[in-house]
């Protein structure tokens, strides 16, 4: 397999951080979506997705992130992203993701702004 990926979850009392590693395509995206939905269904609606170790994100990966944003909106939750490369941030802004989710340089500020 060309794409080695991993997902780590750090849960706190009122929020959770999901950290992805690898190429965010349909395969990693589906795993990310499952983990996010588990958290949301369990009542955790304050989420940070840390993309610092995510080398590339394709448009299918972005569509899965949009689905997570929409799931959180239905439950009046919040999603913040951190660790984006300049190209990833530019792409998120182009695709209007930045209108509905926060973008922060690091995990600490992303959590603080939930």
């Amino acid at each position: 397999m060309l794409n080695k990926f991993d997902i780590q979850i750090r849960e706190a009392q009122e929020h959770a951080v999901i950290e992805t590693t690898g190429y965010l395509n349909d395969a990693l995206g589906e795993q990310l979506s499952e983990k996010a939905q588990e958290l949301i269904q369990g009542g955790c609606v304050q989420l940070v997705i840390n993309l610092e170790k995510t080398t590339l994100i394709n448009s299918i990966g972005i569509s899965i992130l949009i689905e997570i944003i929409e799931s959180l909106e239905e439950r009046e939750g919040t999603l913040n992203f951190c660790g984006l490369s300049p190209t990833q941030e530019r792409t998120f802004r182009m695709m209007a993701i930045a209108k509905y989710a926060g973008i922060f340089p690091d995990e600490e500020s992303a959590v603080a702004n939930l």
Partner: protein
């Protein structure tokens, strides 16, 4: 006369094979000292074009043919499939929208070409019932 390198690559339409094409593009761009951001933009444009070919070409040979041409000041990539061609509604993304979400501006599908056009300096698409070639150029910017 500028130093020029041409690389030809054929990848099968298997999951993640677009990474092999993206890696080749990044190596050539790094060889010519493109900055880190440009290298990532080139990789993303290659990935999106290869995914479009795999998802929509209906090509019988299930192959994507890629030609890289790098000079001192630009990288040109031509990505060809031998599929059925693409239509105007595929080009503007309207055929790929899927079900509407909560926010109309958060379109889930059909954004690959928009990304490619935004990240590359020139993009050209040639399509016929015998296949499609997407060509793009990324110019090296002064640091």
């Amino acid at each position: 006369m500028s130093d020029q390198h041409k690389v030809l690559l054929t990848i099968p339409m298997y999951p993640d094979m677009e990474l092999a094409a993206a890696k080749t593009g990044s190596v050539l761009a790094e060889l010519k000292d493109f900055n880190e951001e440009a290298v990532e933009e080139i990789q993303l444009a290659i990935i999106e074009t290869c995914i479009n070919a795999s998802e929509h070409s209906q090509s019988e040979d299930k192959e994507v043919h890629i030609q890289f041409l790098v000079t001192d000041d630009q990288l040109q990539v031509k990505i060809t499939d031998r599929g059925v061609g693409i239509t105007a509604d595929t080009l503007d993304g309207t055929r790929l929208l899927g079900s509407p979400g909560i926010h109309p501006d958060l379109r889930k599908r059909g954004r690959g070409l928009q990304i490619i056009k935004a990240l590359m300096d020139e993009v050209m698409i040639e399509s016929s019932p015998n296949g499609t070639t997407v060509s793009f150029i990324k110019k090296k910017t002064a640091e």
